[in-house]
């Protein structure tokens, strides 16, 4: 049941976001308000995705989160392509989880991660557009009493070819909504696309340059309280006690809420809450991991390289015999540290628990998981929950986890009837992530006298993300997800053995942009460079020879080499490095041009990234994703490292967890898009995969020094 009190809150939110119009208007409006709007003469729904208004403007619903990647434009483009509406009259609205539940998941998956938004939903979105178009055509044909085959839809208008009569979508929408949707629709041939593949301005940008309150942190409700939180600094530790009597009567204090492993202060604004929290004496029970350090964890993970009995993921031919017969054998060990996602908007979530109902406003990458978490935390049935998706101030995989939702709902439950906005400080965000896993790898390769690769053994010792989120997917001790880019390596090698040692410390790990393809390619592709060097071959040609059976990998490798002028003379002091890696359904290769001074000053002169995602929906957005991957990826390679001491993370904010700034961004970045058609791959993560190895291979070319451990700031290298 919705109380009038609720309704007034909802209306307030509508008004406060409506001022900006456009996208903001649609930000967080719950279903009842939408129903009201429809009742007030707005147009009817044609399929769950599409509403056509009397003025022929079209509302296209978006079920995935917008975290900067542009899918709130790309997804509607897919619908509009088939609908044949006027793109300039398209608005979007996010789907609410209660509607999704009520309508039996009419909008499919709402999860946003793994670069899946476009590739997993392109088919049903295009189908939805085509279905609605057919209904509009049929309604117009009925009105004219002509065969449907004589009518075309174009730019929001239906045209009867023989008589040149025209009807706008808005004029036939009502009629169309009463028709039975066609069972089968035919999708356009890619050659006939008008929108897909052409750059379109993003629909969310006007609101983002005018400061509209789009984000979770911006949610404002009447009577709202604000919560700050301190979590046990040692993972898996517990709250022992808190001397909350110390702040009794402090200005603005509403309540101190004790959770199992955290303390929250609820106050009348966030700054006061956070200030009080800092003065609170809190005693933690660190548990058994209070002595752990980076060195002890590294040693623990590294044992996986020495362990004599570990699961085998692939075993082909006979590597040991091949090593014995090889003309040359090389070995190397690689290391990648923990990393923090660091989206610029810290974790936050707003919740209201009242009368057995829960309402949540959340910047989440998985609204349905947020919904389920809220229900479980409050102890109410799923039907009594609604989650309104806000824009995300960056996600990068962090916001698929629901820890902050759980906390917000638990706190809201402790102050029932009052909406609470929980916001983590940057320090909490830095010290309570699901970090990119620490990973070590050891390689051994055998080459024959002609420099051909004859045998390759790989031992991967790593934290496993699946162990925490989907343990059932780990089969016989082998986490194929953690082996991404390794277990499926594209190179042809007759003798191959891949072993996996799962080594989980107390540090929580999670999906971070490009996931295991952010560290595994660094290791694999740098070692392939070592092979080429040992074989006395050009690293590009060496890869080409091994990729003969893999045309897509070969395609991007060639594209990057060509665009970068691989092999052509370079300016004095400049050197190139190359790498290739497929991931998330797409293919990417990169070439870096660098120079390195004797003092270790690294100058990145040019970055070329070739990407084949099958189809590109919005080329301008795709280029933006390449640039974004360069900034995100290079930040990790240059400076990224989360370290621990006394069981806790040492970094606390951006002064000791460095993020690339504008002056440090390479000035020459070339995104070479080479969509080869026939498949739909991701675009937000793949371009990052080949960056670290291409850069490190260029550094080797310049200095003769192999980088086998990141970040570069620990290797005597400094960006200039």
């Amino acid at each position: 049941m919705t109380t009038p009190f609720h309704q007034s809150r909802r209306d307030f939110l509508k008004v406060s976001t409506a001022v900006g119009g456009g996208l903001a208007l649609q930000l967080a409006i719950p279903a009842p308000v939408l129903a009201q709007a429809a009742a007030k003469g707005k147009g009817p729904e044609l399929t769950a995705w599409i509403v056509v208004n009397p003025d022929s403007s079209v509302v296209i619903r978006v079920a995935r989160s917008e975290m900067g990647q542009g899918s709130s434009t790309g997804l509607p483009m897919l619908v509009a392509e088939e609908l044949e509406c006027d793109w300039r009259k398209v608005r979007i609205e996010f789907v609410s989880t209660s509607e999704q539940l009520r309508r039996n998941r009419a909008w499919g998956s709402m999860a946003t991660g793994g670069s899946r938004s476009i590739r997993d939903s392109q088919e049903y979105l295009r189908r939805a557009g085509a279905t609605a178009r057919e209904m509009l055509l049929a309604a117009a044909a009925q009105r004219w009493k002509v065969p449907g085959s004589e009518c075309d839809a174009e730019n929001g208008v239906i045209i009867h070819r023989p008589s040149r009569r025209r009807l706008r979508f808005g004029q036939v929408a009502q009629g169309a909504s009463k028709l039975e949707p066609p069972g089968e629709v035919k999708l356009k041939d890619p050659r006939d696309w008008n929108l897909i593949g052409k750059s379109a301005n993003r629909l969310d940008i006007p609101d983002k340059v005018t400061g509209k309150p789009l984000f979770g942190i911006d949610v404002q409700l009447p009577g709202m309280a604000y919560a700050a939180i301190a979590q046990c600094p040692v993972f898996r530790g517990r709250l022992r006690s808190v001397a909350d009597e110390r702040i009794l009567g402090a200005r603005g204090l509403i309540k101190v809420v004790k959770l199992e492993d955290a303390v929250a202060v609820v106050a009348d604004n966030w700054w006061r809450a956070n200030r009080m929290l800092k003065t609170l004496p809190i005693e933690w029970d660190a548990g058994p991991d209070g002595g752990a350090s980076t060195a002890s964890i590294r040693e623990f993970v590294r044992f996986g390289l020495e362990d004599t009995s570990v699961p085998v993921a692939r075993d082909e031919g006979d590597v040991e015999a091949a090593f014995a017969a090889a003309a040359k054998v090389i070995e190397a060990e690689y290391y990648a540290p923990f990393l923090n996602h660091a989206p610029l908007e810290p974790m936050n979530c707003t919740a209201l628990v009242e009368g057995g109902r829960v309402e949540v406003w959340a910047p989440t990458q998985n609204a349905e998981a947020t919904h389920a978490t809220a229900a479980a935390t409050a102890g109410v049935p799923l039907e009594n929950v609604d989650v309104r998706l806000t824009h995300l101030g960056g996600g990068f995989g962090r916001r698929g986890f629901q820890d902050y939702t759980r906390q917000a709902v638990a706190i809201a439950k402790a102050v029932e009837g009052t909406p609470v906005k929980l916001l983590w400080s940057r320090e909490e965000d830095m010290q309570h992530d699901y970090y990119r896993p620490m990973t070590l790898m050891r390689f051994k390769a055998g080459l024959d006298a002609a420099g051909n690769l004859t045998a390759w053994r790989i031992r991967d010792a790593s934290h496993s993300i699946l162990a925490g989120v989907r343990p059932q997917d780990i089969k016989e001790g082998v986490d194929r997800h953690a082996l991404g880019g390794i277990v499926d390596l594209p190179y042809g090698v007759p003798n191959l053995r891949i072993e996996f040692a799962m080594r989980n410390s107390h540090v929580p790990v999670g999906f971070m942009r490009t996931v295991f393809h952010s560290q595994n390619p660094f290791m694999r592709e740098c070692f392939v460079d070592e092979m080429a060097h040992a074989a006395g071959k050009d690293p590009y040609e060496f890869r080409r020879a091994l990729l003969q059976a893999k045309p897509k990998d070969l395609g991007v490798l060639d594209a990057a080499a060509k665009a970068s002028g691989w092999g052509s003379p370079l300016a004095a002091g400049a050197h190139r490095g190359i790498a290739v890696q497929d991931s998330h359904g797409s293919y990417a290769a990169a070439v870096f041009e660098v120079s390195v001074s004797g003092a270790g000053e690294l100058d990145i002169r040019r970055v070329v990234v070739a990407v084949d995602p099958g189809h590109v929906v919005n080329p301008d957005s795709a280029e933006a994703q390449v640039q974004s991957c360069v900034a995100y990826g290079l930040t990790s390679v240059l400076w990224g490292e989360i370290t621990l001491s006394q069981g806790r993370v040492e970094q606390s904010n951006f002064h000791d967890y460095r993020i690339m700034r504008l002056a440090e961004m390479p000035k020459n970045i070339e995104a070479v898009l080479v969509p080869s058609g026939g498949f739909w791959g991701g675009m937000g993560e793949t371009p990052l995969a080949p960056l670290a190895p291409a850069l490190c291979n260029a550094i080797f070319a310049a200095t003769g020094k192999r980088i086998r451990s990141l970040p570069l700031s620990n290797q005597g290298l400094r960006l200039v």
């Binding site: 900067g68 301005n201 400061g211 984000f215 101030g393 933006a624 900034a631």
Partner: protein
């Protein structure tokens, strides 16, 4: 009670003098454009203008704003028309997640006010705000474009 002008309007807030301007704006006055990213003057997401100068409002106490003029992204448009920097940001499709962009735009507007024709080096020096989405290349292009569009028409 602290009184000051926000986007041309007189506002007052009953807050501690040491409360950062950012939180007075966001939580007391419901001006949500300036964002919280770090709280220690590192990221610039909270950038506003104080008497025309760009400041990181998370590190400016409310007392320092008393009687002064504060301009936020919400006050940038004049008579419903976007500032040339905002237009350039749209033309060059700068924002991704958008979280840093209020601060970036306020920093860029301040730069162009001081230096109507900035070089790449000037932009490097002035634009120290963090963007985790890596929109830097487009920020640079958009600043150059805005500088062009703001040049007085030749007589």
């Amino acid at each position: 009670m602290i009184e000051f002008t926000v986007n041309g309007r007189k506002r007052s807030a009953d807050v501690e003098p040491e409360m950062p301007l950012l939180w007075v704006l966001r939580d007391v006055l419901d001006v949500k454009g300036p964002k919280y990213g770090c709280g220690i003057a590192q990221c610039g997401a909270c950038t506003v203008h104080l008497n025309g100068e760009p400041v990181r409002s998370c590190s400016v106490p409310a007392s320092a704003a008393a009687g002064q003029n504060v301009l936020t992204i919400e006050g940038l448009a004049q008579r419903g028309r976007m500032h040339p920097v905002q237009k350039a940001w749209i033309d060059h499709q700068v924002p991704q997640c958008g979280y840093c962009q209020s601060g970036q735009i306020m920093a860029a507007v301040a730069l162009l006010k001081k230096n109507p024709n900035p070089s790449d080096r000037d932009i490097d020096a002035a634009m120290t705000n963090l963007c985790r989405c890596g929109t830097y290349a487009r920020i640079r292009t958009a600043i150059h474009a805005a500088a062009q569009s703001m040049k007085p028409a030749k007589a």
